[in-house]
Symmetry: C2
Subunit: 383 residues, 2 copies
């Protein structure tokens, strides 16, 4: 397989984009990426989107996007894996370049969630419709069960959950594309509206419109376009049971640990070699669980680690969600996985401004769907 | 890129499968394929499905399917390109094997359309929501416009359209998995209910539940599993405008001709080298237009060709839709592209029974989404 590089990116501001359609959002992000990379053509397009059929009545997004980008007849494919759709769009683009089938590929993600659909019901289509949703559970409830189990098993505290949100808002305040740039306190999280015990409003990522896009190409031509290509070291993906009730434990997400195991092995890396990571913090508890499943901390030590600043930009061992994460930057579900890649790209090329992690060489992005039934891990390296 | 082979297949009966869920359908088709190929593991799964979120309230099909197949943590990805979802699932699987990333891949397609959703509205999400659907047009109307333009420009007759349906029912009568196995006459087509002038009920493919799956592997291990692997000669894809009104002409589907041009060039083949073809006859007119755009007949000669028996199994120059096509076999939209590959596989390995085309060495499958905004072409060869 060929070596693959990321050579440019574009994204919209994340938030409630009332005056932009899903097409406007995609085109803005994609033209930004094409312009940023300076490429003169694209061989193939991948679009990650979770539920555009339900959100805005539009499926067939590959063709729609190629058309509105003025790029026909370029092959354009939509991939969907719930909230991991963006990460999987990136992975398919990576495989397309690695195979030698395409030289230059656009990997994008998009979601328009604020146009009137019942968002909680739409998102619940990522859970098992027959065994979970039919019985009344939606995602805040599923992650609340994970949180309760983790608090029971490992004495993780309510304050540690809050510390995740506080850190991520603090990072997001320095991200001009973030939906929420306000600093919040532990007390504010603890006193926000209860959503699904123990999770409160400020433990939950928001409902967001947004798009994100990156350009990948084979490493042997990357230097034609930029002095600072970023190498895709490895791209893995794993699956777990769609329903929580089928799992041996609620406190380990097996798709995450399996994808990580494969990624570290293929890349010949250890968790301690990773300089920063973008993790899927759809709820505060998920960042804690995932930081453990990736091997950054021992099982049960993810909560204390956040509280002790081990995941902060300043002085942290492994800065996590320097972009603000899903919590502060926002979570347009299909775009999230690509936005994670963009944060790594900015960090590894020294463009992250006030969020810059010093001596960042290797970054890891972890993106998952549902309650962790699908997971992608992409590791990038400055060259 | 590595050489890739198809080594086995499985499919459900197509029809109104009231007693089977989308999971049951997928599992039946996939286990059939795994059993038929005799493989002991799968490295990666692709699932083509158009609109399972709207049809049955279930997105995240990759994870659902890996789970219900008992195959976690195997990476499993859903791809969507409206009615071309199956063809694109096959193409992504092909690229995965060709890249060297996976050795053995399951490419499946599934759709459960009879569970109560408004099917016409769900299918219309494959057209441009803002410019076409909002103004009241749905797919029978779009293809009726194509038919009227073709009849006007090339003197294609109403009877020639009917001849497509008659031929395809005649072929499907010999396909045990077909939804409709009844022989029909030109008069029956001409006297069936008017749907969108000039298209009548018997010009339209039906609403269908069904699943189909094939196993792909690298050619260098294919002989371990079967004496009759079928080689994937080429797999191409192209895009066109999502809306009809944007096109220079209604009588040529550019995504089809562009994907074909690329396929013939890469494979160093000409249309006359193809021994049989499965074309996307969602409406009778589309088989005629596509048979011309693929170069089997001059522009305007597709209608007379069907009437003269040039596309029939017995004595035809190029037998088309020997399976019965979408018209008679049925059209579970996400599964259709894979079912086309299965027909080619059965024909190229001499397993097609009463539908068998003599001396079939090279087969072409053409699968498209919407009114031709996306198209895949896969050419297979007996080895």
């Amino acid at each position: 397989m060929k070596e693959v590089a990321v050579i440019g990116f574009g994204m919209t501001k994340f938030g409630e984009l009332w005056n932009k359609s899903i097409k406007d959002i995609f085109v803005e992000a994609s033209l930004g990426a094409i312009d940023n990379a300076g490429v003169d053509h694209i061989d193939s397009i991948y679009v990650g989107a979770m539920s555009s059929g339900i959100f805005v009545g539009q499926e067939h997004l590959g063709a729609v996007m190629s058309d509105y980008l003025g790029m026909n007849p370029v092959p354009s494919t939509r991939v969907e894996s719930a909230c991991a759709s963006g990460g999987i769009s990136f992975r398919q683009a990576y495989l397309d370049v690695a195979s030698g089938n395409s030289e230059i590929v656009l990997a994008a993600g998009v979601e328009k969630m604020n146009d009137g659909a019942d968002v909680t019901a739409a998102l619940a289509t990522a859970a098992d419709q027959e065994y979970e949703v039919y019985n009344g559970v939606t995602f805040p409830g599923l992650y609340a069960m994970i949180a309760n189990a983790h608090m029971h098993e490992y004495k993780t505290t309510r304050k540690q959950l809050a510390a995740v949100a506080v850190k991520n808002h603090s990072n997001g305040a320095n991200n001009p594309n973030a939906q929420f740039r306000n600093i919040i306190t532990v007390d504010q999280v603890l006193n926000s509206t209860l959503v699904a015990d123990p999770l409160r409003l400020l433990d939950c990522s928001p409902v967001t419109d947004g798009g994100a896009a990156v350009i990948l190409c084979s490493m042997d031509i990357a230097k034609k376009f930029t002095d600072t290509p970023v190498k895709v070291v490895v791209s893995t993906q794993a699956s777990d049971t769609i329903s929580l009730y089928e799992r041996e434990t609620f406190t380990t997400l097996k798709a995450v640990s399996k994808a990580a195991e494969k990624a570290y092995k293929q890349a010949n890396l250890k968790p301690e070699n990773v300089d920063l990571a973008e993790l899927h913090d759809c709820f505060t508890i998920s960042e804690i669980v995932v930081s453990e499943d990736l091997g950054f901390f021992e099982k049960g030590c993810g909560g204390p680690a956040v509280e002790e600043g081990k995941t902060s930009i300043e002085g942290g061992e492994i800065p996590i969600n320097t972009s603000g994460g899903l919590k502060s930057k926002g979570h347009p579900v299909g775009a999230t996985g690509i936005a994670q890649i963009i944060e790594l790209y900015e960090q590894l090329t020294g463009q992250a401004g006030k969020r810059q992690v010093k001596n960042a060489h290797i970054g890891l992005a972890q993106n998952m769907g549902g309650s962790g039934a699908s997971c992608t891990i992409n590791i990038l390296e400055a060259v």
